[in-house]
């Protein structure tokens, strides 16, 4: 169980996350929704300590995550996989190697320098490739893949971590509807079949309603809603998005901040 207790993060004068407390049971699929700048990303990044909390405490199964240092912190990061909006694969390495890098946190410094992996890890990687339907691309450079494929490679890499929890930071914000659906169902499958807890920030209400057991709404760094998709009434949505919502599509300020660039209708109209 993940327990976030009174966690805040300030950047200079701006408070990104203000006194957030949350409990996430093992095996839940929790969606975090809110406008861009609401603090979703900062909250997720404090859980694996890519961002340090200014105050508050984060506990996971009795471990005080906020106190971890050095190799203990690395061991925790190996257990909490992160999925990024921009996939963050190593572009010049092939898909198989990128997936194997999911094991890097379990290796000592020396083997990790030369990307040496065991046969068992290779077998695991092949299984992950198969599960995410990437077998044909195994020896392609990651940079040659489409966005949807890259995100599935990132999920396969996360699986290699044998994580206790997956932190997904806007995993489908850069994808077209078909790929977004494929990625979300992959996450749902991991959640259902492996019982891995998933915490996922999303920019579309539609996706949150469809895939999540529980939804957390954030506004101005605070949690303003917590409940099941059924609890998410029009009034609750209104509070989360502070009057800027459009039912089923709140992607505008997140996915298309630069409207003068090439129009991307496939992003603007989220999976229906």
């Amino acid at each position: 169980m993940l327990v976030i207790d009174g966690v805040s993060r300030r950047f200079d004068t701006k408070t990104a996350v203000a006194n957030v407390s949350l409990r996430v049971e093992r095996g839940q699929f929790v969606g975090i929704i809110g406008r861009s700048g609401a603090g979703k990303s900062t909250l997720l990044r404090m859980i694996n300590r890519l961002v340090e909390p200014t105050s508050g405490q984060i506990m996971f199964d009795g471990i005080e995550v906020t106190k971890l240092r050095g190799s203990d912190l690395r061991a925790w990061r190996a257990r909490s996989a992160m999925i990024f909006q921009q996939f963050n694969l190593v572009p010049r390495l092939d898909v198989l190697t990128n997936i194997l890098l999911g094991r890097i946190g379990r290796h000592g410094t020396l083997p990790s320098l030369f990307m040496r992996f065991t046969d068992a890890e290779r077998a695991m990687a092949v299984e992950a490739l198969d599960r995410l339907d990437l077998m044909a691309a195994a020896f392609q450079r990651a940079e040659t893949l489409s966005g949807g494929q890259q995100q599935r490679v990132a999920i396969a890499r996360a699986l290699m971590q044998e994580p206790s929890i997956v932190l997904a930071d806007e995993p489908i914000a850069s994808l077209d509807p078909r790929n977004a659906e494929h990625v979300m169902s992959s996450l749902k499958a991991i959640n259902g079949e492996n019982g891995i807890t998933i915490l996922c920030s999303l920019h579309t209400l539609e996706a949150a309603r469809r895939y999540c057991d529980r939804i957390v709404g954030m506004a101005n760094g605070k949690v303003v809603f917590e409940g099941t998709p059924a609890d998410l009434t029009q009034a609750a949505v209104h509070e989360i998005y502070q009057g800027e919502e459009r039912e089923g599509d709140v992607s505008d300020d997140v996915a298309a901040p630069a409207g003068w660039l090439a129009p991307r209708p496939e992003v603007a109209s989220a999976p229906a």
């Binding site: 694996n48 890519l50 912190l73 690395r74 061991a75 925790w76 990061r77 190996a78 996989a81 992160m82 990024f84 921009q86 996939f87 963050n88 694969l89 190593v90 572009p91 010049r92 390495l93 890098l101 999911g102 890097i104 946190g105 379990r106 290796h107 410094t109 990790s112 320098l113 030369f114 990307m115 990132a154 890499r157 971590q161």
Partner: protein, 267 residues
């Protein structure tokens, strides 16, 4: 209407009046240039006498004397070996130094400034000066040349390796840190693969640069073909000097051609 336009023209003149300070600086710079030319002693008179003399030297260079070609080629081989040896050592040492010098990758800012300073020192002192230094330190011969080229290579490659690493995308680095990779693991698995094309291009340039540098190091006794060239000129044996210059020319051309072919193929 007309007067308004005239007023605007006088208010924004096409040529600004230089300030007194700017005027003094311009005059001083001009005076320094004239003084420099007169001190160094280059005059039309000298040029007029020099050009026929150059013609004379060129005339005595032809035909090139091939009698000592075997010795010259042996010496050229040593020169090239010196270049390759010094360059490889330099590239190997550049890599850890570049990691320490790269912004965002170096473990801390004091180490970074120190590493940057060392690389800058290696780069700013000319290779011939390093050669003189190492001739005194390790004695005459190719060993001094290898060290001079090594240091020169670090000065160049250290800087470019560091810049190549700084330019790599931060996303994959963050991702590997989030997986729990150690700092060095992140560098080797995310930074190095992304910077590899740059590393290869820089390394090939270093071999070319080292080859050109190795040719003259012999002039100060640091081994290689430079000494042969100096002896030939000292003995007014311009025909042999011509042979030496031609083989050097061929070596440099071959290395540059091979280098650019490899660059095209690998990257």
């Amino acid at each position: 209407m007309t007067s308004a336009r005239f007023a605007a023209a006088t208010r924004y003149p096409r040529f600004e009046q230089p300030s007194a300070l700017a005027f003094i600086l311009w005059v001083s710079a001009l005076a320094f240039i004239v003084w420099s030319l007169s001190t160094t002693g280059l005059s039309f008179d000298r040029l007029a006498r020099g050009i026929p003399a150059m013609g004379g030297i060129l005339e005595r260079m032809f035909p090139p004397d091939l009698d000592r070609l075997d010795r010259i080629l042996a010496s050229l081989l040593v020169t090239f070996q010196m270049a390759v040896g010094g360059c490889v050592l330099g590239l190997i040492l550049s890599f850890p130094l570049a990691i320490l010098a790269a912004d965002g990758i170096s473990p801390n800012s004091i180490v970074r400034v120190a590493a940057r300073g060392l690389i800058a020192l290696f780069r700013t002192v000319p290779d011939l000066v390093w050669a003189l230094f190492f001739v005194i330190a390790v004695g005459l011969g190719p060993a001094a040349g290898v060290l001079a080229i090594m240091v020169d290579t670090i000065g160049y490659a250290g800087r470019f390796f560091a810049e190549a690493m700084e330019e790599t995308d931060k996303g994959p680095r963050e991702a590997l840190a989030a997986i729990g990779a150690s700092r060095l693991g992140t560098i080797m698995s995310a930074v190095v693969p992304n910077a590899m094309p740059n590393f290869i291009a820089t390394s090939l340039f270093c071999v070319e640069k080292a080859t050109r540098a190795s040719v003259v190091l012999g002039l100060v006794g640091a081994g290689g073909i430079g000494i042969e060239l100096k002896v030939a000129f000292d003995l007014f044996d311009y025909a042999t000097a011509a042979t030496i210059i031609l083989v050097i020319f061929m070596l440099v051309i071959i290395v540059e051609q091979v280098g650019s072919t490899l660059r095209r193929q690998i990257i």
